[in-house]
Symmetry: C2
Subunit: 357 residues, 2 copies
């Protein structure tokens, strides 16, 4: 039996989107491919209301986390760490030989604009790394406010991991002057994983020209060259996933992004209300994620057993991440899931835990 | 109308394999995923008769071309260049700050073991880059003979791009002591593109431990750690492509690798015979590829027009690559294509060009 995914990615993918992957193959140097990829890029820019360059990389977002740094940073950067994925991004910077400072915040708390302001006052950095939505803790950092601080530091680029928020939470890419932002499609886009949507500012592209050792596979300038010359990619892309993305972008446009954001907000409110009623929320109040709710296991239930029972009923949620395992659990509510889906899940949890009769 | 792909990748994918992608999503941290990925890895090792570690990266092979270098080379390497893809690999080395020497051979000619022997006599290199099958020219380099030379240089690793040969041409990975070898699945595996099968020797993994700045996304040691601990990958993989790979590996085992190689050889012989009869072959005699035949356009036909006519009949071949456009054309015969498929294509070309009545 398929278990409906209420985990913070991969999220549930609708049948129609799954089937779109199964279209017959085409050559990636054909006019048919250029029409497909060119269409996807323009739809992405329109849907997210941005004039930035857009790329779709064939890789997990982890690859683009690495690429964003290699493209834009010669020497130093600063990471703001409040969970497993911001920690990973910092590690990626170190593994690529960059001087990376870090501001560490307790898991569950948010990165505040003052923290960024203080750090940038003390030292000059080529780039700031911000993880918009910490999938490991369910904290959504105040990206718009953080971005405001960066406006006083025109030589410092803002790189944003929006892996589990872009498409579910409103992000004003251009107005906030974000230099590099990327999203995994298996989160709010409700697609199977394997490709990463990326937007890059002209400022970041200019910077890239002055950066050594950018590599090849994730090189923004090489991606741009192939796109501008023939609406193609330097390497063979995951064509079936582009088929699915193309269909899904039309569906997202049909729904309308405002409606999509509202749906995500309503699901988040439903999950929080339930969490507060029966447990406690893990995230700092006011910074709860719009796409994943992390719940403190104040009742000392066995999360593993809860999930085993849910599996029998055709659902799956996530245990806490890493050190938060069994101390918390996470309910993903992103992509194409609806209030009705979430309500059905919560009803089943209530029954299993005998929370309400 | 779908055009059957006789291009050197992406190759034609059978309906059953396309459909396998459309299975519902599962979490990449679930036991179901570990069973899927663990199964794929073991099937790969068995099918290719190797004790080496196997990884499946979510990326085009171009990513692993970069990763192979970053994992195993601190300072210097040597490339053997006889086409566009060996040239690209060399460029990737330079873009990653390595000292890369190159032996250049005219396009259409093969890399000979003596060339490798001479180069290694003159200077010590940490690694030798060999492109087994130059997809751009239809030349298959004598990998087994080249590998013999390397056996006298135990401190020099052999990195092999088998993008368009592995699974179609016999390669004795262990006996030839290949350190890193990788293949695009949209070639001889007859899958949609997006993942790259990679085998790595223990010697290469030991070397990696002594290499700085290996990065993260393509880091072999990180891949190995996640595999050994839980049969998973560090980053979210392209699950739908792994579904398809899993099914296809069973089909390949059913056919048997010897039969698969024989089928590729028979198709190659058919394509060469036809090419010699009506045109000339581009590859140096004795080094013609088993998976793609490049034909010299000795009749001065318009390859673009031929392809336009073929399209109307539901077929597509490839024009020459880059500077060889219109001077050559390429017929891919790899993956799940059969002698019957190829015969049908050649019959249609004969009709269009009025080669035989």
């Amino acid at each position: 039996m398929h278990k409906k995914l209420f985990i913070p990615g991969p999220t549930e993918v609708r049948e129609e989107i799954l089937r779109a992957q199964a279209n017959p193959m085409i050559g990636h140097r054909s006019v048919d491919f250029s029409a497909l990829y060119g269409g996807v890029i323009e739809k992405l820019r329109k849907l997210f209301g941005t004039n930035r360059k857009a790329f779709v990389f064939t890789s997990s977002a982890t690859g683009v986390m690495e690429g964003a740094i290699r493209n834009t940073v010669n020497r130093n950067l600063i990471s703001f760490i409040n969970g497993a994925f911001s920690k990973r991004w910092h590690e990626i910077a170190l593994r690529n030989g960059k001087e990376a400072d870090a501001v560490q915040v307790e898991w569950g708390l948010a990165i505040k604009p003052e923290m960024v302001e203080d750090a940038l006052k003390k030292k000059h950095y080529e780039a700031v790394l911000v993880t918009h939505n910490e999938t490991s803790t369910g904290v959504m950092n105040p990206l718009g406010e953080i971005a405001e601080i960066l406006k006083d530091h025109p030589d410092t680029l803002l790189l944003v991991d929006a892996v589990s928020s872009l498409g579910g939470a409103p992000i004003e890419i251009d107005r906030w002057e974000i230099d590099v932002i990327f999203a995994s499609v298996q989160k709010c886009f409700a697609l199977p994983p394997g490709i990463t949507v990326t937007f890059v500012s002209d400022r970041a592209l200019e910077k890239a020209k002055k950066v050594e050792n950018r590599g090849y596979y994730f090189d923004f300038l090489t991606m741009l060259k192939y796109y501008e010359e023939r609406k193609q990619t330097p390497a063979t892309p995951a064509i079936s996933l582009l088929y699915a993305l193309d269909v899904q972008l039309d569906k997202m446009a049909e729904e309308g992004m405002e409606n999509r954001f509202r749906r995500h907000r309503e699901m988040a409110e439903m999950a929080r209300e339930w969490g507060r009623k029966h447990f406690e929320l893990f995230a700092e109040p006011g910074y709860e994620s719009l796409t994943v709710t992390t719940i403190k296991n104040t009742r000392g239930i066995s999360v593993a057993e809860l999930n085993a029972e849910l599996a029998k009923r055709g659902f799956v949620i996530s245990n806490g991440y890493g050190k938060l395992k069994e101390k918390t659990f996470r309910i993903g509510h992103m992509g194409d899931l609806t209030r009705e889906d979430l309500s059905e899940l919560l009803k089943n949890i209530n029954e299993i835990l005998e929370l309400e009769r």
